[in-house]
Symmetry: C2
Subunit: 370 residues, 2 copies
Amino acid sequence: MQHRQSLSTMNPTSLLAPHAPRTRRSTIEDVAAAASVSVATVSRALRGLPNVAASTRARVVAVAEALDYTANPAASRLAAGQTRTITTVIPHLNSWYFSTIVAGTEAICAEAGYDLLVLGVGSVNDLSRLLSEAYQLERRTDGVVLVDVPVTSEEVQSITARGVAIATIGTEVPSHPSVRIDDELVGRTAADLFVSLGHQRFGVIGGIRCEPMRFEAPKARYRGFADGLGAAGLTVDGDMLKGGNFSIDGGQEAMSSLLDHPDPPSAVFAMSDEMAFGAIMEMNNRGLVPGRDVSIVGVDDHEFSRVLGLTTIHQNVADHGAAAARLLLNSMQAASRSNSDTGAVADVVTQRVVAPIELIQRSTTGPQLL
Amino acid sequence: MQHRQSLSTMNPTSLLAPHAPRTRRSTIEDVAAAASVSVATVSRALRGLPNVAASTRARVVAVAEALDYTANPAASRLAAGQTRTITTVIPHLNSWYFSTIVAGTEAICAEAGYDLLVLGVGSVNDLSRLLSEAYQLERRTDGVVLVDVPVTSEEVQSITARGVAIATIGTEVPSHPSVRIDDELVGRTAADLFVSLGHQRFGVIGGIRCEPMRFEAPKARYRGFADGLGAAGLTVDGDMLKGGNFSIDGGQEAMSSLLDHPDPPSAVFAMSDEMAFGAIMEMNNRGLVPGRDVSIVGVDDHEFSRVLGLTTIHQNVADHGAAAARLLLNSMQAASRSNSDTGAVADVVTQRVVAPIELIQRSTTGPQLL
DNA sequence: CTGAAAGCGCTAACAC
DNA sequence: GTGTTAGCGCTTTCAG
């Protein structure tokens, strides 16, 4: 299969491979020829490497532009062993929280010239598929953003051993960049609010249910909530903690069982807005008015929260996605520098950012009556 | 840089390229050697091509499995000119409608062993970036799913000319597979509902605003709505059609101006649930009760619609994403077959599916009072 | 049905 | 600073 020759000797489209482009693309050789330099120089010039005379670089860049030349990604990947692709690994795609994160990540990747691969890991098996040798993670991506996916240190090991960079959102893993919020503070904020409103009987809708609780966030939020109440001499009953599965339906069921309790709560802390929505639905069904009969606070500041007037603890989710992408890119860059540098690389690689949160009071919280 | 040799003569990790994997991967040559066949045979066997003895194939497959071998995607891409990647092109990532579609598409791609690239095209310029020669669309993807992105036939031309397959969602382009709903029927359904409830004064919240209306759906929905009313001898005032931008805020503003009208509507057709949510917010602000003071119907059956009790016209968005992915995959397959076949390929390539819709009555619609 | 060999388009030593 | 050259790991003619 000799493209060049067939192109010059016969109908160019006749015998090409099934999916071959119908239009001839310029290659690095074309640019080299047109700029009267070697392909190596073109490669260096275009990638901004040192060891290229400014004048040469300018000429090469100009020629490349004129020829609409860009390196064939497959070829660079094969030759360099890098993919210029990063991958977001997410539990569900169809939830506001996750898709907003992806949006933030996508923006940064696009800006940096990286492709973004999206990988849903609904069940735990999916993660192991990703980690299996056969999947060839390192040949598909230079780095992964793990979004609220719990990983063991062996799993992290197995990823880094392949030369794939890691950043996490919502969780932290040792010696890798991460962005998260202070989940204990989230819980404490909710508690403080309820305490200040004079509530005394509390319910919590968390994430726990059947699943062996591998997620840290719910635990931390609960801890913060209990601590906050404790500071005011108050407590939550163990049986007032219900699992809501971070879904609307789960939130509704949890609220239902909370309200069925002989001594129901006057204030409910839902660990996500979506669960709070379900809880509010259940209140409506029972003719209860949020903020009057029962107060409820959520977490996230989902775009619909203001529609319902939900009091919530805001976090800037899109920013988290973007920030994690930036950290990941930085760490990859630092890692590659470290190979040429002499030894000790600064731990820019291990930045942990704890993003701010903010209580947004709307109408679903009010003072304890009677 | 001779990997093989350095590996056998020295510390394997010492002189590798910066990002080279730390663990040696098996290559097609390893498999060939272990199975005592040529690399060509391995390649054929593993890809299920004909011209391989069943016994040979079985042996090769077994060996490959034992060695955890999978082809290096970059190498296959370079050699074959196919990427085994498909790309979803979407206006916004952070909206329920779009992210749900992506979720559906992702599932199918994963199943088929394709990678899924996500490309946001917020503004129109982004589309032209994708189409620019320099972006090398065909070297990044084998096919694109255009989700509600309006394209001219020149743009379609430019994509197919590169050998990239196309499928669309929400729109149709000549001779390419698509999945959409019957937008006129959507409008008519809304109209019929209002008519049956005895309403006479109508408002419409559509997508139009400043932007030159390139989108077809809003137009078709409006047409259907007007037709449906017409069949009952009713009409919509031209100044009762407001642009809501398909966003919550837009819906709220639109509703606000509708209600400010001297003779406000008793029934409002919002072309998306999200706009309906904004509209309901505005009603709440004014102390109006949806379904009693003003009826409103949305489109989509967004997951929050049931929280608000919104009457809406349901469409199965996740299915649309999956269906489009399947059609795209099929058409790509058909296209590659057509190169080896003699002539005429069936027009499986051009399937258009019109997905069903369903009216879901909840509490935001009620009979006309007084 | 199978093997040999020529690329795909680029990057990275290594020499000059 | 720049050119030469040897691969990266696969696919695909072309012979047999």
